[in-house]
Amino acid sequence: MKKKLTMFLSLFFIGIGFLTAQTQVRGTVVDEEGEPAVGATIQIKGTLQGTVTDMNGNFSLSAPTDGTLVISYVGFVTQEVNVSPTVRVVLQSGTRALDEVVVVAYGTVTREAKTGAVSSVSGANISDAPVVSMDKALGGKIAGVSITANSGQPGAASSIRIRGTSSINAGNNPLWVVDGIPVLSFDNSYFMNTGNLLSSINPNDIESITVLKDAAAASVYGSRAANGVILVTTKSGKEGRASFSARARYGASWLANDNGFGVMNAAQLLEYQRDAIRNVGQDPDNPTSTYYRPKEILSRPLTNWLDHVTRTGNLQEYEVNASGSNVRAKYYSSLTYNRTDGVFYGVDMNKITGRMNADYKLTNNLETGTRVNLTYSEGNDVPMQSLYYSNPIFGGMWILPWTPAYDDEGKHNVKIPENSNTNPRATAHYDDQFAKTYQLLGNIYLQWNPISKVTLKTTNAIETVHTEGRRYWAPETSEGIATVQVNMQNYVQLTTSNTATYNDVFFDDHHVRFLLGQEAQKYTGRDLYDYAQGVNPDIPYVQTAPQPGLIAEQWYTARTMLSFFGILDYNYSDKYYLQASLRSDGSSLFGSENQWGTFYSVGASWNIHQEGFMENLDFVNLLKLRASYGLNGNNNISAYRAYGVYANTQYNGATGMLPSRPANPHLSWEKNGTWNVGLDLRVLDRLDANIDVYSRKTSDMLLDKNVPQTTGFSTNFLNIGSLMNRGVELQLGYDIFNTNEFAWQVGANIAFNRTKITDLADNEEIAYSTDGRLRHVVGKSLYTFRLRDYYGVDPTNGDALFRDEQGNLTNDFNKARYVYPASPEPKFIGGFNTSLAWKGFNLGAFFEFKGGNHVMLIERRYLESDGAQMSSNQLLTALNYWKKPGDTGVNPKPLAGNTTQSNNFNTTRFLQRGDYLRVKDITLSYNFPGELLEPIKVKGLKLYVSAQNIYTFHDVDWWDPERGVDGIGYGIYPMTKSFVGGIELSF
């Protein structure tokens, strides 16, 4: 440790030798009409030092005599002028695409200067879509970034995969960095089905999101960068006088169902059952038959249970925000209320978010500021995410249409034997399942330019999450016994991030940026849980339960991390760029022998269009070749895995301690080495293209390795195993028309990724931890289904046929061979969009697609059971069954009480291609012209209507093709579609 410190300090002071002469600059900034530009930013190039213009467009500051000033103003081209005692700048309107600044790790970069694979989305593209959380807004927008909704529930978390999947036992979600601070992003659901910590940030507060995809861009985040890094920058005050805006939107939502999917009505089901009964030689009209299904059933009161458990969802959102600045201060603040009522009874999400971003210049070279986000959210839901009887999407499909919804007293009927006497509507009505979450994410920074070219910055952040959860089983739904479970969770993450940056230009053409940094982070998580059975329903709290019904548990975890890092950027004459980064991370998660890891990257790019030989090719605005290699890590494992521990054991009425896990002092990071080669092109100032090719190797993959049981343990968690991800990404944008009157843009992106397991140490194959139907097999994709080989129906008799070990057909399920037919991983993902602007009208459409993946529909075991389930409803698709010799491509002949295993859920029968093309968003908006609004003192007025997920093209026999990253997600809340209308007013 001491050595690291010495190295750090000596590196640090190298930068301080370069002291140069200063001069006082006075200047004016005006626009094309000569009007003063109020609040334009003047920055000394290569530093964060600068100032803003006053009400008359004037500024003054002290700058190095050989320096350059960068003048930027929203809506105008950024300009550079050499330092001289007096400066007059005339701004040119319009922003050149190449000057767009992209936020990258610990800084910003122009598109022309970037060396890594970096993509960004501006806030404008995020806030238009009526999404509750920012992760949802990214889907299909960036090549190689796959956002898979884990459920359609309001506020649900997503699984985000950047360039495939890199790990089996460490995590696969990227690192989220908000305003420079790594934040918590795990699913914090406890009683609820899902809990998305990222939803605490209002998408409309976001200025930009940048995705760092390759090692060159991400490796400076070291041991957390293996799955990519997503940088979120929130809005800061806009230059100019205070402006206020108010937004409101309202919408309605429904279950997405574009293939006429559904269950049978009573008449269809009865006929189906009667057929199944006759197929086993019984008489459905015989009261003594095992299966007595007289036609009289249809004259009973009938219930459409799916209708009974669903409703029209709705969403509403109201927001006010204010922003502005003066010479010294900038501020942005917002307050938002969001409420979403789900399409199932009992599911809703309420959220209030407040944000205050402020920056203040204390002196000309000292600036401070804060970013504070406060959120309160309250979510209610019902048991979903698995096939619970109380799950409305499953119960609604399962319960018989002739089972009444209400009892004789008009209460919810809970005598439903086919559904274990559970009525999902009663559950939604009587039971509780909620989480109330309080979140604070705040940082304060201090930035100082002690001398020209050197910027010191310290950012200190706190993130806290406090959740209070409750689950209550009411006596009405639980045979008279009231049970309550409560929990309190508390997470705290403290971060300090400190950097020193040195910027300089030597001999005119040699640009150097050198950054040194240090970070420390501590995370603690606590949880208290109580379970109390037999509480008094009038006082449904823990203390009314009898003693034997009480369980109390406590949990605590903590992890710390300490880091030192450096970045070196060099560019020669804006033609040749070199970037290198080095980071050393120490982590409490890893063994004492491997507590520190070193990660690095090297990247280079060549702006070919700047070369002399390109001079005649004026139509080429940008032609850039990039290449990089880097090594980063994945530290996403639970705490204390390196410690040998003893755990409690109960025996013979007493408690003792048994060895629970062996010590592993060598436990270390998973490592990712990534190559990336890319080409960026812009021609005719209207066509953009980026192509990237990458190869990413995970090594030292954490796996359980078998050890001799004579050691007292069966497995050790070791760094063994390796995995490859390879892929190609393409992003295109084209401005078909771009006039003041009419603009039409199109864009598209597509990414191909292949995973391949290259080494699992001793094993050829290991089971996926959450579902044995998926396997990790050496030489195959990371996830591969292993299923019995279903062939189809025997055209002669309607039996289900399987292939046996020899490939012959058999109707004996037990002889069916296992095959590895497909993977849930998509072979390609992407999206395309178009936007048309004419006068004040704007029409935008955005499509997302995914292909080559397979999904497994476990539910069909029960709902397309070929007669195995005689006391439940069945899917409409079950009606397509074998009726006469010669029928092929149909379901097996239904047999009442079917025991042939034709409906077994470990067969390829329920595996389907998961390809889809989703019309994700169509939005039409109208901005009222300024002349109309001026008399009423309104700056802007926008009305819009938007349709989300309005249609999805797919062939999956289910509501919606999205089934989570493993393709198995049974019982999940399906995706919904919605219509939203909104108004935005600014003044």
């Binding site: 501590k522 003893y646 013979n652 009425g653 048994l658 007292g712």
Partner: protein, 477 residues
């Protein structure tokens, strides 16, 4: 220059002191070092080492059920089974279908091996006496001996059959990187005897660990001596076996059950004053409780019911012998005609029920001594037939006039049926399995004395990761 000083101060602040910042030890579990650092921790760790005995891999189910199904005492009802336990009944053992005892027994061995060296230097701290430490050490040595004894008689040929053949690794130091080779059978037995006799010498007279629900489920000096009697019996050390049996019998601590106590004794919760010397305590709150996989549910006609009793066994009992009534037919929906043992019928603790598994009891001491005497041991005032009749008179069975080896072995089968003895008794006496009432694969009906099945296979997963381990003959490796 002033600015440079300022910079230096800032830089120094940036680098926080970090010597212990990265140390985050688990709070909700105890580190191995901490557990083993104090007498209290060692005491907890010693007691916990009993816990896996009740695992379904051992006395909680399969060690007993497997042995009975192999030996011919068990039967598989064709209409009433759950598909469990087909391997021992059909002898479909392969290198991947092996007894599960291995991992659990070595886990207990590792648990006590962790404790034993750490006992050094604990005397005198916080009032800990030499005897306190000796008692812990004795418990550890007993468990290590018992675990190796059950391992060696399962995975190796018997001492009396071929003591030079491969036994099991006798592990006295658990090395996380160790790949121990198999010691020969003789070495294993010598180590068992050494551990048990050391334990016998260390443990205080009359000591049993306090604070537990059942005192017979923790070690006492008599339990160590009773196990020594059995180990010597397995070694053919007849006089020593007889002497240790005599020590236990004459201790006065235990009493043979009367006929009318016999059935109830197997339903007793915590034993005292009867026959039980050492047992494994069943309780739902046990961390290793098998629940549906426990021996109760496996041997019940209304449970999984995979382990019925064969008519070959049931028909051996004389009319009036109370031991012949320890079987039930037609409980609930069970098919008529099949018998099920009631030795694990439970302690009325719900469904599934739990029961204790008896490891050592007084009758066995009489039987050990009787067998030893028929094979040459001498004990004054006692004969083989007097020992057998001591039991038989308490069971409602007729007294025998004389007793040879075969009479003793038959009595042993009758008395200790379904307690996991018969298979191993056949093994060490070079017997064979002959099954008349049998529903399994025909090839496995009879197991001859020279069959390779008398030493069961070691699991392939173990051979794959320990290059010094050798599979038993007759199995694919």
């Amino acid at each position: 220059m002033k600015k440079i000083y300022l910079l230096m101060i800032v830089a120094a602040l940036l680098v926080v002191s970090c010597d212990d910042f990265l140390d985050e030890a688990p709070k909700m579990q105890q580190s191995t070092e901490l557990t083993l650092a104090t007498y209290t921790g060692l005491n907890n760790a010693t007691f916990a080492a009993y816990s896996p005995l009740v695992s379904t891999n051992w006395y909680g189910a399969s060690f007993i059920v497997d042995a009975e199904l192999r030996s011919g005492n068990g039967y598989r009802d064709v209409d009433k089974n759950s598909g469990r336990y087909t391997v021992p009944y059909n002898f479909s053992y392969t290198s991947t279908a092996t007894p599960a005892l291995w991992g659990t027994a070595y886990y207990v061995i590792s648990a006590v091996n962790n404790v034993i060296p750490e006992l050094e230097g604990k005397v005198g701290v916080d009032g800990v006496t030499q005897q306190d430490v000796d008692n812990l050490r004795a418990e550890c040595l007993f468990l290590r001996g018992l675990a190796h004894f059950d391992l060696v008689r399962t995975y190796a040929k018997q001492y009396t059959v071929d003591k030079t053949s491969l036994g099991v690794p006798y592990v006295v130091i658990t090395d996380p990187a160790g790949q121990p080779a198999r010691d020969n059978v003789e070495t294993v037995y010598n180590n068992i005897v050494a551990d048990l006799t050391e334990a016998e010498g260390l443990i205080a007279n009359g000591y049993t660990r306090g604070g537990v629900a059942s005192e017979t489920s923790v070690v006492s000096k008599l339990a160590i001596q009773a196990l020594l009697s059995r180990v010597y019996l397995y070694m053919g050390e007849w006089q020593k076996s007889a002497d240790y049996a005599t020590t236990v019998i004459t201790s006065g601590k235990y009493e043979l059950w009367e006929a009318d106590e016999y059935a109830a004794a197997f339903k007793e919760d915590a034993q005292s004053g009867g026959e039980v010397i050492f047992d494994v305590y069943g309780l739902k709150a046990n961390s290793y409780d098998g629940y549906w996989e426990g021996i109760n549910w496996l041997t019940r006609p209304d449970g999984y019911s995979d382990a019925a009793a064969s008519n070959d066994l049931v028909e051996l009992y004389d009319e009036g012998d109370v031991r012949g009534t320890m079987f039930v037919q037609n409980l609930d929906e069970a098919p008529a005609g099949t018998y099920w043992t009631t030795k694990y019928a439970g302690k009325d603790k719900g469904t599934p029920d739990v029961s204790n598994t008896i490891v050592l009891r007084l009758s066995e001491m009489y039987l050990n001594r009787a067998e030893a005497i028929t094979r040459g041991a001498t004990v004054s005032g006692v004969t083989a037939v007097s020992d057998l009749n001591a039991i038989r008179t308490k069971r409602g069975a007729s007294e025998l006039a004389s007793a040879g080896v075969n009479d003793v072995l038959k009595e042993r089968r009758l008395e200790l049926a379904w307690e996991g003895h018969y298979w191993y008794d056949l093994a060490r006496t070079k017997g064979s399995v002959t099954r008349v009432h049998y529903s399994g694969a025909e090839v496995a009906r009879n197991i001859s004395a020279d069959s390779h099945y008398w030493a069961l296979p070691i699991n392939k997963r173990e051979l794959d990761v320990n290059e010094n381990l050798v599979q038993n003959p007759g199995y694919d490796s």
